[in-house]
């Protein structure tokens, strides 16, 4: 009973916290972008413009939820839910703090990778079912992007798994007590961050959306709360990738003085700020550039990283 009850409390708490964080992230991103572009960003609604989050939510909720007559109806409705479901499910295995977390899977890393791969279906199906050329191009790009990053994304994490000796995220965090993995696994970290950017379709890898070329890419035809789900799903993805990077490379909840949850939130926020910085800085590559970069550089690099990490571990500790 107590075990189940605690898991349920964690579940509710994490879902609530993550969803409200995702909504708040809209404000954070706009303010941060504004700082780097020497503007103010939303600062009118409520203190510091925080009411903007509420205003945006209310606006999205009250918008007409229109399904174009030429769309493939069931798939069109289903597509936005997939991204929400997969990302929220991924949060189940993220260890927030000792004793807080929905479930401790011993294949946590694999589970997250599987879920994030499924999330690509959302974008591809949305692009396909919208039955419009911009959406279709967006969906195609999402597919090409997916086969670019997905391979080295998994491989980038294998070095961490080798060092920690486990796929369990909680044990990976515990293994970082003597030193975070961002040092020995610098290559893995860089590769994972690139993959994370591509995974969440964030700039500079927002090829499926590509506002300046494809209107809004895969969600050109979406409106109302269905668009809102893509929107929130994207921010959820940003939080997920940041939280994962924290867990895998920056020691998760580990840290002196402050409570563990605060440490995780702090580190995650820094990484989220890095995501926004990427958006403020980098231009968007062509989709074949991304694919070439991924297969010609990052895949070999992550393979070398894995081989070297494995070799060193073998040499130091024996088989």
């Amino acid at each position: 009973m107590t075990e189940t009850a605690r898991a349920l409390w964690s579940l509710g708490g994490i879902v609530l916290a993550v969803l409200s964080l995702a909504a708040g992230l809209i404000w954070v991103e706009r303010r941060l972008l504004a700082v780097w572009q020497e503007r103010y960003g939303p600062n009118r609604v409520g203190p510091l413009g925080l009411g903007q989050v509420l205003a945006d939510t209310v606006k999205l909720l009250f918008k007409e939820d229109w399904i174009p007559p030429f769309a493939d109806r069931p798939v069109f409705v289903l597509a936005p839910t997939i991204v929400m479901i997969t990302v929220l499910t991924s949060f189940a295995v993220v260890p927030v703090a000792p004793g807080i977390g929905v479930v401790d899977l011993n294949v946590g890393v694999l589970f997250v990778l599987a879920m994030s791969s499924l999330g690509a279906y959302s974008v591809v199906l949305a692009g396909w079912s919208s039955n419009s050329k911009y959406s279709l191009l967006g969906g195609l790009r999402a597919a090409s992007q997916m086969i670019s990053y997905e391979v080295f994304m998994g491989l980038a994490l294998m070095g961490v798994v080798v060092l920690a000796g486990s796929f369990d995220l909680r044990r990976i965090v515990e293994a970082q007590r003597d030193g975070w993995f961002c040092g020995p696994q610098l290559l893995g970290l860089v590769a994972f961050l690139v993959a994370g950017l591509a995974e969440t379709h964030r700039l500079p890898f927002d090829l499926p959306e590509a506002e300046s070329e494809l209107v809004a890419g895969f969600h050109s035809e979406y409106s109302g709360m269905k668009f809102g789900m893509f929107f929130v799903g994207e921010y959820l993805g940003v939080i997920l990738i940041s939280a994962l990077t924290t867990t895998l490379f920056f020691g998760g909840w580990l840290g002196p003085w402050l409570p563990p949850v605060v440490w995780l939130l702090l580190k995650t926020f820094v990484l989220i700020a890095f995501f926004v910085l990427c958006r403020a800085t980098l231009p968007r590559p062509r989709f074949d550039q991304l694919t070439g970069y991924a297969w010609k550089w990052l895949l070999p690099l992550t393979l070398v990283n894995l081989a070297v990490t494995g070799a060193i571990r073998l040499a130091l500790e024996g088989p």
Binding site: A34, V35, W36, Q37, E38, R39, Y40, L277, T281, L282
Partner: protein, 171 residues
């Protein structure tokens, strides 16, 4: 790779740069005197209307937003019976000001004319007319023009020679 890091650094440096935004309703930017904003009708230094109802502004207006009717008072001075500008059409191009021969119609540095009802954007003469001479303080059309009106005959304008008596101009 190096260029990437340099880009990140350059963007990060903007964190502490002053912001460009002018927080509009609270702080305002100083507008130039020749800013093309709300249109007014000015008066000459004697307090009389400058407009002589020549219709040149209405003719120059590319969107036909000016409507007026000229008339004449007992002294022979022309003035507009009504003068109407539809600001929902006006594009604030300033052609009327350029066309005006008497500096009567002028554009001012005021753009805050927002209204919730379209009808309120139609300005009549009493809305347009101001008490002062606007941008041209000393100018009085009838004082420099050779036109005879009540109280000022031909030859009495500034720098104007008395009219020539054609009967004495025999060779």
């Amino acid at each position: 790779m190096i260029s990437l890091l340099r880009s990140f650094w350059r963007v990060l440096r903007h964190t502490f740069a002053p912001r460009d935004t002018v927080q509009y309703p609270e702080e305002r930017r100083r507008l130039a005197a020749r800013w093309r904003g709300r249109i007014i009708l000015s008066r000459d230094p004697d307090g009389e209307e400058r407009c002589v109802g020549c219709y040149l502004c209405a003719a120059a207006c590319p969107v036909d937003c000016i409507a007026l009717q000229a008339t004449e008072d007992e002294h022979g001075r022309r003035y507009p019976e009504f003068f109407r500008i539809n600001f929902s059409r006006c594009i604030l191009c300033g052609f009327c000001e350029e066309a005006c021969p008497t500096y009567a119609i002028q554009l001012t540095p005021d753009f805050e004319m927002g209204e919730t009802r379209r009808e309120n954007l139609i300005y009549e003469k009493e809305d347009l007319l101001i008490d002062g001479p606007g941008k041209y303080p000393g100018y009085n059309f009838y004082r420099v023009a050779g036109l005879a009106i009540g109280g000022k005959d031909k030859g009495e304008a500034r720098c104007e020679a008395p009219p020539v008596d054609v009967r004495k101009l025999m060779p």
